[in-house]
Assembly symmetry: none
Homo-oligomer: 213 residues x 4
DNA sequence: TAATAACCGAGACGGTACGTCTCGTCTTAGG
DNA sequence: CCTAAGACGAGACGTACCGTCTCGGTTATTA
């Protein structure tokens, strides 16, 4: 958003429907013509607003794109609690796969990456406003896994998070490989196996192996 | 290159130093201002050439970007063969970490990602001209690991490659986390442990643990 | 004025101080920045009112300009009657010189001219509401001069009026020459000499009449 | 013109046909839609050029209008020499009347006036580049008239020039009165009669002196 | 006294022209 | 035919301004 300052108490208030219409039109146009293929004038026309209304809210076209993406991904994350560490991780991973397999995030994420590289404050906003929530949810699940004896006590949580998320983004952004359940399950499986406690905790590891089979 | 056809035999010949200066200036400017943030005019000025010289060689700005990147990544990859699967993987991973920690590729990659998303031919060029070679080197090492009994015979090579590379790009592009040896070794370690053959449980895992320590 | 209709009998009445403040601010801003150089928003700010208050009174910016000018020039003209034709003309001419030498009308007039050229109704308003009164006063004086025998009976009053007023505006608007008493007296003198009755001077008036015919 | 500086010696030269096409299109559009009623984009389209070509030559729309006018009025003035002072003055006056009666100058002059009031350097340019030539031609004719004995030796040339030109502009800009031969001849006649040498008629000058006192 | 209606300042709104900027091409004088 | 410099046509961008509308609140007349 352009003005994060508190709303002025006098004068006509900004119409929230205009806010929404602008973001909505932007997302539609990005999906139709690509991030650099649409015109601000088209956004204005489709949203039924003037260009001024757009630029009052977003300081540039890039900013508009970013805000639209942010609005799109601004959703609650529920920490799953099925009783099974594997099932919990799987739930979050499948959710992520679903999200990025969608048309819009798939087209937007690459541009977001480039914008983040050039604008640190945007990078911070995306990380703190979006990634952190997913990472916190995963962290909660992983810590329960440790408590439950499914994961080693000295597991490097940061590393696990990057291994869970990395391949997903790698395929989305770089290799173009498939974002599917197989990926999600392959990674989850590796984590559970690779970071399983060393000890002779047989019963549990057996169960894990069974679930995999 | 714009004209791959045979060089004309008459008239003044193109100066190869001009070719190089253009590519070099382009890479610098991409790193400084991003793929969409630099201007062809700037490339001309920095390279000390006219815009004509650029467009005689590259048919568009995107083409110029592609050629520059191609020139950058056009380097040999040696497949390491130390006798130890872990050491071989580590060698390749450390090399990659070194590469992306460097100034130019590190700043180039985020911009490249966004450009790739919009230009499939650029994406293909980058994948085939650059990634594929690293992946093939890793694949060779992994297959030797399988032969050697360090990895399961049914290991999903594609998945392993994505798990090896994913976290690296994830930190570079998204989280901003550190690109260091700890990351490289953590991932290598996980792969070797997670995809270790099941049966000969004890001896091997012990050895693996030792190597890690 | 926007609504010439009778004031509504219910609701809050328009504040006459607001009426005046708007006109005053408009005139100041026209003088400062020209007819096309000021903004309605500036008028509102300087008058301490909202834009709505302006547009409730004037249907457009041009209308506002017109009303402001009308308010400015809405002044009585007294027809002088000293007994001397020369003194009467001089009185009116000096008054005019004084008026246009002043800051506001002097700066307003050039802008007004351009606005008049594009808006016939403004031109008419200025002519009828302002010029006509001066011209009528002069006409009265001139007709008395004719009766008194100071001017020829067949004098072209319109032409005399334009010769009296023209040089004044010419200097104000075009040449930038001085608006001073010397100008006023020079023109007055010429009129009295050039349009003096023929009789007392035989040779000359005959020749003039011939040439004119 | 935007850049009065010397043309750079290297690079492509500005196309003089583009210069002319822009001015031509501008004049046409002014005639069709008025000075403020046309759009720069329309000029570009009609001239078959890009907006850049316009703004490379003229720093603003107003500047473009002015340059167009300047091009229009940039014509040689020939000093007439018929042997008759009256005929010489008449020739110049009729020429001026013809000029300002035309559609374009008639529509442009008012705007020029307003622009001159706001931009002293424009005012100077118009005066020195255009008015001065007419005034010099008239001055030459008047001085010959003095030599010839048709005008008083002590005639105030500046005043005469303003009386000759003033009524013309007054009607054009203010009163909207007719610009016709009658006006030209009436003014010429008055000058010749009013500034005729005193000598042959002593009584007159005495009387005039008395009235003035 | 309460309801009603028009006023008020502030400022967001839709619309539209402006002037800037960049791309990829073309033109010039020269190597 | 190459080169550097820079003008060219095209068209999107972000700004500025107009005249309208909305907001919370005030003022005056009617009921």
């Amino acid at each position: 958003m352009h003005d994060k300052a508190a709303e002025p108490q006098i004068g006509r208030r900004r119409d929230p429907r205009t806010d929404a219409a602008i973001l909505r039109a932007t997302l539609e146009l990005i999906a139709e013509r690509g991030v650099h293929g649409f015109r601000t004038q088209d956004v204005a026309k489709r949203a039924g607003v003037g260009k001024g209304a757009i630029y009052r809210r977003h300081r540039s076209k890039d900013d508009l794109v970013m805000a639209s993406v942010a609005a799109l991904v601004d959703q609650e994350i529920v920490v799953p609690d099925t009783g099974s560490t594997r099932a919990d991780i799987d739930a979050l991973m499948h959710e992520a796969v679903e999200l990025y397999r969608g048309a819009l995030p798939g087209r937007l994420m690459p541009n977001l990456v480039s914008a983040m590289a050039e604008r640190p404050e945007l990078a911070r906003a995306v990380r703190e406003g979006f990634l952190v929530r997913r990472r916190e949810a995963l962290t909660a699940v992983l810590l329960r896994g440790v408590e439950r004896g499914d994961l080693r006590r000295d597991v490097d949580i940061e590393l696990v998070l990057d291994i869970l998320g990395g391949p997903l983004f790698y395929r989305l952004l770089i290799t173009g490989g498939p974002l599917d359940d197989q990926l999600a399950e392959g990674v989850t499986d590796l984590i559970l196996r690779g970071f399983a406690p060393d000890k002779p905790t047989r019963a549990r590891s057996t169960r894990t192996a069974k679930e995999h089979a």
